[in-house]
């Protein structure tokens, strides 16, 4: 809506408040990134984050190199996603594509665990364990080593392009790119035998897919960890939105204790602390923040709960002789209670956390039991439906079945197959001939064997209708047994 204000000057000229629609003030559709120069801090949480970074990067880079002897029938890499042979190896566990529900279970576990952690401690994942956080932290550390701390970096950014500035920038980006290539390089080792792939990659003999994957991940690591940084969390990641639904006012999160800090203001040494808060408005929490926000504005979308502001503030509090943890892991409820002069309390047992813990426990137990008791043999039966049954010249009726015999162990085995629920005149294994029960069937190590079987029932043994039958597969050595239900159709309605 345009408001029309007419002001007539004494000279009779009409004046308007019209503003050009494309004036600079109206053109704020896009926002350039405000550069952030986080200051390096030292303290409990910074040390914790260094440790977390070392452990997580160590796991990421080293795990593909762990060997695990499985004999000649399977690869000897402890953790391997073998796409070509459709197997996933994790130490003593081997997962076939049919068992993808274990992966689903793991994802469910991961999701519920992160719900529980969010309800209890806020964005612990975002602050310490998320790859985006870990690599950004590493990239900022490299930046700090080469260009100096916050103030030096701000000066360098504003400085003219001298040889020294170019050298620093080249060194920084070169290091970042090296880290990025190493990151992409480590990723592909999870999908192939690490030592031989490493040799191939370095000698130029790797596959185009491997180089492509390394290049793609190097590019994303460099651009997301080095250039995009906090914008990934703010603009791209859905988790900040989801976690808002997981946390409540009892959630422990990095919190500015406004009950202690306000009213804030500059403080001179020797001045009284009466009638004022402990916050001296030094902005060290803002300077240390990798997200470039002010924690004193309260819990907010951008905050990844990395707790570096706690370290920054504790340092200041020690210098001015105040109690530490003006910024601390605390709850919104406690800030309100303290403001109302009530004692703080921490409620970890809440309906939400009990629910998440129960789901977590149930899924864990179900997964563990099913993993521990899973059979190394399996049997699937596909019944011929086309034709549904075949009447032979002498009136006997024949049904066809395709059996899939799975040997999940790493040694070849011979199973015994028998049929229950019907008296067959003959069992014909295609490729073997007419056989008697139990039928010995050899299956190679770690393989599936498909066998087509024709079951014929003599006219005198036939009863009308469909009959439930069971194929039973037994390993005579271990006694493992697997039964699969099927139907025998007589062709006559009962």
């Amino acid at each position: 809506m345009h408001t029309v204000i007419k002001i007539r000057n004494s000279d009779g000229v009409e004046r308007s408040d019209a503003v050009a629609s494309n004036s600079a003030a109206s053109r704020s559709f896009y926002k350039s990134r405000v550069p952030i120069y986080p200051k390096l801090v030292d303290g409990t949480y910074r040390k914790l984050k260094w440790a977390a970074m070392a452990v997580l990067l160590g796991i990421y880079y080293l795990v593909p190199w762990i060997r695990w002897d499985r004999g000649p029938a399977a690869p000897s890499q402890a953790v391997l996603v073998d796409l070509a042979h459709e197997r996933f190896y994790f130490f003593f566990i081997e997962i076939w594509p049919q068992e993808v529900y274990y992966i689903t279970g793991l994802l469910v576990l991961g999701a519920v665990a992160i719900f529980l952690v969010s309800a209890l401690f806020g964005r612990l994942w975002c602050g310490y364990a998320c790859p985006q956080t870990v690599w950004t932290d590493l990239f900022i550390y490299v930046e700090n080593l080469i260009e100096g701390d916050r103030s030096a970096r701000i000066r360098l950014a504003a400085a003219p392009w001298t040889a020294s500035k170019v050298a620093k920038r080249v060194a920084k980006h070169a290091t970042w790119i090296l880290i990025a290539i190493a990151t992409g390089g480590a990723w592909v080792f999870y999908f192939a035998d690490a030592p031989s792939l490493a040799r191939d990659l370095f000698t130029g003999a790797g596959s185009a897919a491997a180089y492509g994957a390394v290049a793609l991940l190097a590019f994303t690591t460099y651009s997301l960890g080095g250039l995009m940084r906090e914008q990934v969390c703010t603009y791209m990641c859905p988790w900040p939105r989801i976690q808002a639904a997981m946390s409540d006012k009892e959630t422990l999160a990095v919190t500015y204790r406004s009950d202690r800090g306000e009213p804030r203001g500059a403080h001179k040494k020797g001045d009284s602390w009466e009638g004022r808060g402990a916050c001296i408005d030094c902005n060290q929490c803002v300077a240390a923040c990798p997200m470039g926000i002010d924690i004193r504005d309260g819990n907010q979308l951008e905050c990844i709960n990395c707790a570096l502001c706690i370290d920054a503030c504790d340092d200041v509090m020690a210098r001015i002789g105040q109690e530490p943890r003006l910024i601390a892991y605390d709850t919104d409820a406690n800030v309100a209670r303290r403001t109302a002069r009530k004692p703080a309390r921490f409620r970890f047992v809440r309906a939400r956390t009990v629910l998440y813990s129960s789901v977590l426990a149930i899924v864990t137990v179900v997964m563990a039991v099913s993993l521990a008791t899973r059979s190394t043999i399996d049997l699937d039966v596909l019944r011929d439906r086309n034709p549904n049954f075949v009447t032979l010249a002498d009136g006997a009726v024949r049904n066809g079945y395709t059996l899939k015999l799975m040997n999940r162990s790493l040694a070849p085995r011979t199973f015994l197959l028998s049929l229950e629920g019907v008296v067959p005149k003959g069992i014909n294994v295609i490729g073997v001939g007419v056989v008697t029960q139990p039928v010995p069937l050899a299956v190679d190590a770690d393989k599936v064997r498909a066998v087509r079987i024709l079951v014929t029932v003599a006219k005198s043994d036939l009863t009308p209708g469909s009959h439930e039958i069971h194929f039973v597969l037994v390993d005579p050595k271990t006694g493992e047994r697997r039964a699969a239900d099927a139907i025998f159709v007589s062709g006559d309605t009962p």
Binding site: T3, V19, Y30, Q231, D384, P387, A393, G400, N428, G431
Partner: protein, 288 residues
């Protein structure tokens, strides 16, 4: 707009649009996002140059790479043919028995046979070779023209009542339609055929029909109704009925003398494919 409205909580400009008291924030887009948009436009321009893109009146721009999915398919088909060449040559030289005895070759023949069956045979015989009324079931053990590997290969090659000079030939007379027998005689014969298949039947009719059968039917179907493969005459004493097992079906067959046609595949399919089909059909369960 004369005045920007700023949202008090977020400090962001609003669009001025309001629903149920909630105002839409005009959050500025990050500028790099805009950059990606322009990058995409650049990418599209590059795509026009490299790949086929613009339609014309008689053709289209081929692009620097001259990429064509059709060429890709043709190349893939050629590559597949080249890859199969050695196996096809083996199929051509091996006898049907040798194919069945060699597991590798058998697997290849079965795969080709299954594919070819789906393309050429399934329309009449059904996807699983289960047949239908008038189209023989290839799974059972009743064979009009023989169920050995060589018999099946021959039947596929020459067909039944087809245009091939050496095709299987048989013709059952239409006893009723052509007035060869009287309707009541056909009723008696129907009862006789039911009797032959071992089912309860009218003794009087069977007695009357014995001579009729010997005079009219035994020449092809044999005196005991056991059939004759040399003539393509079905066995009437078994449980297999091409045109149905009921009295009405049998009477209809005697009256009309149906005889289906199977085309000759000799000129249409290569000898190797016919071998593969013979092995596949033989493996369906009824092969002799």
């Amino acid at each position: 707009m004369s005045k920007k409205e700023i949202d008090g909580v977020s400090g962001t400009e609003t669009t001025g649009h309001e629903w149920d008291g909630i105002k839409e924030l005009n959050t500025p887009l990050p500028r790099w996002w805009l950059g990606i948009f322009f990058l995409c436009i650049l990418w599209a321009a590059g795509y026009w140059i490299v790949m086929p893109a613009w339609p014309g009146i008689t053709g289209y721009t081929h692009g620097v790479l001259n990429y064509s999915q059709r060429d890709q398919v043709m190349a893939d088909v050629d590559a597949l043919k080249a890859a199969r060449h050695a196996r096809e040559a083996e199929l051509a030289h091996a006898t049907l028995q040798q194919i069945q005895a060699n597991p590798d070759l058998l697997q290849f023949a079965m795969a080709e046979g299954r594919a070819s069956f789906g393309d050429n045979c399934a329309a009449c015989h059904g996807a699983g070779g289960q047949g239908a009324r008038g189209y023989p079931n290839l799974n059972d053990d009743a064979w009009l023209w023989g169920g050995k590997l060589g018999d099946i290969q021959h039947t596929i090659t020459v067909g039944v009542r087809s245009t091939a000079p050496d095709t299987h030939q048989s013709q059952m007379p239409a006893f009723g339609r052509d007035g060869i027998l009287k309707p009541e005689q056909i009723d008696d014969l129907t009862e006789y055929v039911v009797f032959l298949s071992g089912r309860p039947s009218d003794k009087g009719a069977v007695g009357r029909a014995a001579k009729l059968f010997a005079d009219n039917c035994a020449m092809c179907h044999g005196p005991g109704g056991k059939g004759d493969r040399a003539m393509g005459a079905p066995n009437l004493t078994d449980n297999d009925w091409l045109y149905g097992p009921e009295r009405a079906d049998i009477r209809d067959q005697i009256w009309n003398g149906h005889g289906g046609v199977m085309p000759t595949w000799g000129g249409r399919l290569s000898p190797e494919t016919i071998k593969a089909l013979a092995v596949y059909v033989h493996s369906l369960g009824g092969g002799e």
